[in-house]
Symmetry: D3
Subunit: 323 residues, 6 copies
């Protein structure tokens, strides 16, 4: 493959002489790994596809810059993360003005990574939610005979009409359904709440048999339990599961740094528990974290820190699954 569009991240990896016990020393650059990594990380710094103004394209750089402040050890689960191999494949080079071209590159990168490392878990750091449709198309192109299921944590259904908005961040789920990539009944959305989806969109979701759980229902069952139950179901009905975490699923009081923060959302504690369960599931092949906008975050970067913590919960789950 001539060019998979991945470029090295704007990150120092500044080469400690001895292992520090922190995340930046644990994650390796993809061109330095010696064996196939268990997980591959890549960034998709695109947010021009957002309906409102979004700086989510800034997140992959901040995400890596914060690694130095996180230990590679989960205290609660007593898990040493360094027992799991993670490689950073860098960021996909985006075009400045051609959104369609940028989307094409994300699709190619996801395709290429899955082709080259078919056994590795993939983890994409967005960017806005439009990138999810690209990654899933890339995965599908790489594994055309496999049925894909989606677990989405989101405040929104993301089924607006691409005919009206183009491939924007409000449309990925509908793109995938109408493109024949994923079937509606293989999509589960957890975290919907309040007044943030119009009746018309809810009706679309029902018509296409997307399975939805409101925060209220979710809390009655328990976030982790519900996720486990739905991942189990999805894995029995599909060949592989893609998980997409729209960080705006979190309540506005916990996560201000998203373009459309809302009251009534998920608490970080609930998201963290849920990500342990997701990490533990062998069916999960690819995960992404999207719509985290550092330019709207508070002065102490709380949402970005929550973002790193969330990703580490998934990593912890992966190891618990192994062990």
């Amino acid at each position: 493959m001539a060019d998979n569009w991945l470029r090295e991240p704007n990150w120092s990896w500044n080469d400690s002489l001895e292992p520090s016990g922190y995340v930046h020393d644990w994650v390796q650059r993809i061109n330095e790994v010696e064996s196939v990594p268990e997980c591959i990380l890549y960034g998709a710094p695109l947010s021009k596809s957002s309906i409102s103004v979004s700086g989510a394209s800034l997140y992959p750089e901040v995400f890596r810059r914060l690694w130095k402040q996180f230990a590679a050890y989960n205290f609660e689960e007593e898990i040493d993360l360094t027992s799991y191999s993670v490689a950073d494949a860098g960021d996909i080079l985006m075009h400045t003005t051609d959104v369609a071209e940028s989307h094409r590159r994300i699709e190619i990168a996801a395709y290429a990574l899955n082709q080259t490392f078919p056994k590795s878990t993939l983890c994409m750091i967005g960017g806005d939610h439009s990138t999810t449709a690209c990654a899933i198309r890339g995965l599908k192109r790489s594994q055309p005979n496999q049925t894909i299921g989606i677990l989405q944590l989101d405040t929104h259904l993301d089924v607006r009409d691409p005919a009206e908005y183009g491939p924007a961040n409000g449309t990925p789920i509908r793109q995938l359904i109408e493109g024949g990539v994923v079937r509606g009944e293989h999509i589960v959305n957890i975290g919907l709440h309040g007044y943030y989806n119009t009746k018309q969109l809810v009706e679309y979701a029902k018509r296409h048999q997307i399975k939805t759980y409101s925060m209220k229902e979710t809390r009655k069952i328990g976030v982790s339990r519900l996720i486990e139950q739905e991942l189990k179901r999805l894995s029995s009905e599909t060949d592989l599961v893609y998980v997409t975490v729209d960080m705006d699923v979190l309540d506005i009081s916990f996560a201000p740094g998203v373009p459309a923060a809302t009251p009534g959302g998920m608490r970080t504690e609930e998201l963290f528990e849920g990500l342990l369960s997701i990490g533990k599931s062998p069916a999960v092949k690819h995960i992404d974290f999207v719509c985290l906008d550092p330019s709207r975050d508070s002065r102490i970067e709380e949402t970005c820190r929550i973002g790193v913590h969330a990703w580490l919960q998934f990593m912890t789950g992966r190891i618990m699954n192994k062990g």
Copy 2:
């Protein structure tokens, strides 16, 4: 020229041609409604009556500006808000320096609305808490033979002495008791907590048999259950219930945008559940939301967004009551 792509700006002549599914298209101007609206909204942009510096007078304008970001559909309860008719009667014109005159105008407005639309639920958007005393006096003047009960959600008792402060935002409950408008035993205050009421004020409340529930007690019973129980009791002892929501009842970590935010308060989730119960109660005749100060809110306007969401929960409850 078929289409020069020019569209009218988002400034003054922005009437949508077709319903968008959002709140600003659902609420109608009062001079355009064709039948008696089920609910009438009006603003009381006064906060010069506040003991500390307050910009709560700015809230009615921000409240309406944010409507565009809320769908007229409650996902959790599967309620289409457009089945309920709401009219916006606009803001009461306040005097620049004469607080007593401004108070008089609020009283007249509440009186006039109740006289003209006796069957409609009224909803006042403050302004500070002094406006509540005015609205209740207006209601009482319109219905002199009816006994009024008050359900107050607040961090404070609001029984400071008007002889010392004048008709300030710390005094409305005492104004009403001493003015003979409402009796102490017909007042319930839920949400009191911590170190925000002096012993002297607590003793006044006890002396006048105001019923109070601390956050700790409230949580033991459950916010919604307690509200239902107290609304039931009030409705058996009075003719109509006025609900006043001081947004400072919320915890400082959820709602920074009030003049006196405190730790130890109510969570948004609890308030939202409580407002469903309030909306469902047929006894509730008038509600207000006060003391939300946009000038102290965070950069992403989280408290103002919570304010709109809170009001929509009441609306949802109203519809659930109907159906």
Copy 3:
């Protein structure tokens, strides 16, 4: 009851009954004007074409919202702005994800306005600097036989290679030169300074005979005097002059609200004087104000206020030219 004190909210039906003396009452909607307006205003809310994250698309709405705080009277020049007729043609509807389509619409809008109102001065409120190339192409298409000169106030040359960036905000001048729309020697750039243009770009500008003045040279001559001299020269060499004001020409300590604020730039006082001179020039046919990003502005919206003031200086100049 004669007066219930209720007034319509500041939301949608706020037409003043009598002229207030403020800008929002002076500017008319284009569909309400009775004769051809002397100046037509239109918004181009596009900033997805920016190289870095930009919220400049938010400016047209904020620009209009601030009008209420500006009197239609210039104290220093004793000019009553209401003697000049200005119509607001609204905003151009942008596509959510197709930047090329959005650019095409701006071009069409500029073309259509010039065709319909050939004698009116046009004023475009950006949006980022890519919109300038579109407006000039529209103007050229409408007046194909006229030679266009450009006066640019900018920290940057904007001659990056469209082959690399696409039609981004760093490329408009080069687009116009390479598209044969404007010749390099008919372009003057005032305000360049410091370390914000690479050597390669400076060499491109020299090669194409773009006339440049650094802030240091500019100050030696005087901003107004230099502008007058260059407008005179341009008007002798071309048929009409287009002025483009990139608000990032201002110093970072005066105007934080732009995507790339720099030290060493122009002071507001200098810009305001320069805009009087620009307004006075009969050669100026079209002006734009671009790259003002409200999402980066300070809490008191100082850059946005400077933006409105700057536009009013141009208006004042227009009237001084008339009289």
Copy 4:
């Protein structure tokens, strides 16, 4: 044990044992002075009389809190401030809701201070601009046979109609003219600029022969020179001069912390030079600093710091006048 290192907190019993060289040690409490102080300082913490939301009532407290960060020595003029005696008379107690009563108290306080200390220069720290009318009325009541001249530094004329606004911060000059306290021709306003006074108000000022200088004219003459010239003229036509400094005369890029900051205003450097000249003038009997709103200031309190510096410039001028 000789020393347990505990020191009294910076809270209540912080009287230094030895002079520190800073402002808080130089200014004395009025109940502790032993002879008649050359200057008396008092606070008027009222801003409920403001047309827009204002926290200017918070300024007197912040003003004093910052004293610890200012040395009682002017480096440029080599002036030791401690050679001049200043007493702090504290703040006037404001009523919570009765603006008229608060205004009455300011008038009484100004009257009482002038009666008790007829030779001392008075200095009032506002509060909003409505307080100026009260202080001047108090002064007039104390010296009924003296003609008062006013030097006003302001972006605004402050001649709105009290019949419409009541005694608000936009009306003090008109209150004084219409109340027969000061004649229009004895009022000079320096600092007017831009688009911040309607034509109607400008015409009122002209009709009443208020002398106005725009920033543009002022700069041509020089701020200090113009102030000296006008103080000289005023002192020849009146018995005593009252100077009122509305901090919003400063440009928005220098002084964000006022309710209505505008571009095009005075630079701090110009204000500081002007205040030296004002301080030097023996005609000046009373000065005030108003409309500084700490709640709108930047995080580093720049406007409040400018406020203290400005006041110290006046003090320096006073000493230069003595010497």
Copy 5:
């Protein structure tokens, strides 16, 4: 003149004439108490010993400034705080550049207070966590034959190596163990969570038998119940208990104002309940609150307010223990 309405400013001579019911009137200066106070408060404004930049030295002053906004009455427990005597001993004078000397002074101060007031509960307001080691050494020096137990609420173990960092805020627990002041098995740490302690440090803690509870375990048991259980155990194994509350134990969404805020931490509600239990325990001899950094706090000072509330919960507990 009966009353000129002037009141002393809120600056230095603000002793209320009559008790207000607020905290600043309840707490007494240590040089004014007439009998031995039940609790003595002192400040240790040192944060130069912090590994990252910290402004925790600013907290004691803000802590006292906020007292005016807290009533001396606990609504939930119906406790009148004024029934308990508290004296403020002021702040320990810190050296500007000699951290070791500053540490020595804290140790001396703690020693001296315990010597002089052996029966009083001591309460230190930090400062960073390095101050805890000093206070405990002072206490030990005063009571050399008593075994000290430590209850620590913290996100971190604080057992980094002093040989590498010096007596920094990451090392106090290790300093005490290696200095033989406290034994590892007499230390309990509650609140540890997430990815904020390296494996190496966790192993050190295990090796020294420090008892640790993660937030997850803590929540299963209940914060208060666990604290009660561990205080009981500690009091059976040691002679006196020192409680240290590192405010960074709180979740980043509740308490932004600490140098190292993290997601996944304790909620304020949990901390407040825990502090009631701590206050009730007769074994607790000394408590501190550390690492609260006002310079990182939000604009409305939420963490500082939480800090005062937290301290008042401990006070409430003390009184409940008495009664």
Copy 6:
């Protein structure tokens, strides 16, 4: 020399494949340079020696991170910076709690760099002003027979007594005088103004014949002209000149990001002109930029950007001197 304490900076140098024309591609790492660099840059990230809370230790990292946004070309002087060789020697490793040890390391690093590269201009990025005394001591130790002159741009004299404060940021000049390293008459301080030095300190400066120029005097002469005149004088009286730029010399409205910003200071334009003159002077051997505190900077990092721009002005001057 076994260890000069310099460590590689926390910066990516992320290796463009082709030169970009920006600063990060121009500056080389010291371990990669092939010949002796004309200028060597090093960071001294220490601010625990500050009298007030300071985050100036954070500046070296931010300084390097911003390089990507600056072109290596000065537009006004038409200077290509890449014609001058600059090496980055990284940051000096600071001790966490031992300020004296950190100071010792800075002295060693300055000594070592001068020993190893005796012909290179040195440039230290602070850190607070205490680091200047260390660097000068290191230089003196390396060149014991050379007389050192100091040109200081500062709001403060920095002659507080080390006996009272230790080697704090308020004392470096006095340390050097009393340590016999530099004589008072070889020190020039430009930029002093307002009320920010006590009389006692001014008298110390006079006694030791430090030459001082207030901003007022400086402006009368012109910043550049005065600097040229004083550098000429210093170079005739001493062997080499050390320039120290305390960024707090800038006015608070231009540079908020310093621990003690003041009104009345230098404008950025003046500083930039002055630094050109400093760069041009062959007598200047070493320069530093200190007291820039990113944690107090505005959201758009204006002071940090001014810091980079300022340093580039010095670089430009160096090249103009060469050519």
